[in-house]
Symmetry: C2
Subunit: 372 residues, 2 copies
Amino acid sequence: MSVVETVTLFTPESPLHLDGGGALGHVQVAFETWGTLNEARDNAVFIAHALTGDSHAADGDGRRGWWDTMVGPGRPVDTDRFYVICPNLLGGCRGTTGPASTNPATGASYGLDFPLLSIRDFVTVHRALVQHLGIDRLLAVVGGSLGGMQALQWALDAPDEVANAVVIAASSRLTAQNIAFSAVARSAILRDPEFAAGQYAEGSGPRDGLAIARMMAHITYLSEEAMAEKFGRRIQDADEPRRQFGIDFEVESYLEHQGTTFLDRFDALSYLYLTRALDYFDPFAEPSALDAATAEPTPTRFLVMSFDSDWRFGTEHSRRITARLNRAGLPTSFREISAPHGHDSFLMDVPDYLATVRAFLDRAEQEVTGAS
Amino acid sequence: MSVVETVTLFTPESPLHLDGGGALGHVQVAFETWGTLNEARDNAVFIAHALTGDSHAADGDGRRGWWDTMVGPGRPVDTDRFYVICPNLLGGCRGTTGPASTNPATGASYGLDFPLLSIRDFVTVHRALVQHLGIDRLLAVVGGSLGGMQALQWALDAPDEVANAVVIAASSRLTAQNIAFSAVARSAILRDPEFAAGQYAEGSGPRDGLAIARMMAHITYLSEEAMAEKFGRRIQDADEPRRQFGIDFEVESYLEHQGTTFLDRFDALSYLYLTRALDYFDPFAEPSALDAATAEPTPTRFLVMSFDSDWRFGTEHSRRITARLNRAGLPTSFREISAPHGHDSFLMDVPDYLATVRAFLDRAEQEVTGAS
């Protein structure tokens, strides 16, 4: 169903110039596509993944997509009608160049020699990919959490390339508490003796630190109510508490499972680089942030969404984004969705939420095709 | 000002029988007292400390007390009028027998051979200490967080010994999210290779794991608003971000400092044992929980308090305690205090809060002495 490809987008002759200075002379990007690009090349929808996602947004290859509620045949991002593109992020560890990749200058992995990245850098690579695919203007960029921040940055930097941006459960500026959680997660990785200054062998590395980081993050992805509903104080596989330090409560088993399974699919260095990009993200602090977007004759249309039980990037974050866009006169709709799952709601089957995205994309398609 | 003492309360001939079975044949308790026990022996106020506290509640020895807003001359717990007692907890690491103490049977530290403890076990030791001091009935037991749980358990188990109980920012039953945070903290300690199955030498041990546990806990002690107010997105000692993995934001510096200074005063094994006692605490689940309290001719008077910005043990926890006590017909007042500091509010100078405790204790004193 999906086409999986890897393409080299930047080379020593044509390097990736980074937002914070410096350059990367070799960047390959792993991406997947679903559906067919139409002749007018105006039915492309770009999916930007969140912190620990990858290119496999929708089902394919016999594997479930991480956003199969949103992307697929008949889904809001309908792969029967849209040409859907999802790459792995720059700095990631699922096929796109990142800190665990081989540094051509040394023949060893980059480790901490990899440059610090910004969300604009992710977008620069996305833009090169879309150009490579021969697409001038995307029907939409859609993303949740870190993915939503990419959609926002893209629409600010190159509004001519993005007809519509769907910014879900995102933030334009992390709070001290947001940064604090990421700082402790990174500290767990950096303090792990197996981190070895980032020069660990493939398959080894700071497994304990990364598991701790993931377990802690999972607490912030669920609302307190969702955790209470899902686990309460129930004991794992028993009626009576065992009274031990090992796993006893169901919630402990859940976290341990999340921490352990994560190790098989994610790299600790990527975790450091991607979370740090989040911390520094603050697009509206740039005085010229909105210049391109407001000068665009056919401005990007924004849909900003939040979930009422999200305590990681809750409604106040989405309201701030909406207020800045509205104040600049950009066409922006905001919806707060009631859903109990916390931040993770953006990945869940929440009918009101999915219907809102569907309606927004249907209208976007009609505007482009002239269909009614 | 304060008297610092250590007393052996349980011996092989007269061991401490534990709530979960088993016994400890040697328990010494470090405690401090302030003020003077009157002739009627009815002016004693017992302070139960929280997770990482110690016996040094009020100023003395040239060191500030951890609860100097609450306890001291002229304070709500007035050391000029009350005889104030504060011991280090069983299982602690500040002079009272705990898992890092020497196991007389082996000559080495107990480590993980130390038995799992319950909050009732803490109270059993407190009761022995009060008996040792020749006090039949305390004017009050006062505690915040884990200290409040001890006050509650004591008043349920031995209401004749507790005329008044002040239960602040406590819980009678941790939520899944509460347990989750503690589980990840313990996992950071247990996964640290220096933990060495609990048989680390004094002064060494799982320093990284314990620092991570403490940093994470500190996030939960402050409200999101307090963190935003205190740190925002300010950069430590600079105007412009350095853009690095090391400390850059002020909140990172704060957490690192909290994690590091904690290592000099706290033991990782105590952290494991005390947090686990919290997880299992669920006194009202015992069918006979309220039997003693309701049978008592002069029932304990309760003051239950919460803070509106506390997201660790917020108002819903205190309301649950209050509802259970009220339903049993026990004299219980509840106050939610508005304070911005989150869970840490119970340690802070919050006038409305301190005045409420003062009024409650003043009335308690008047009832005992007959003064008006």
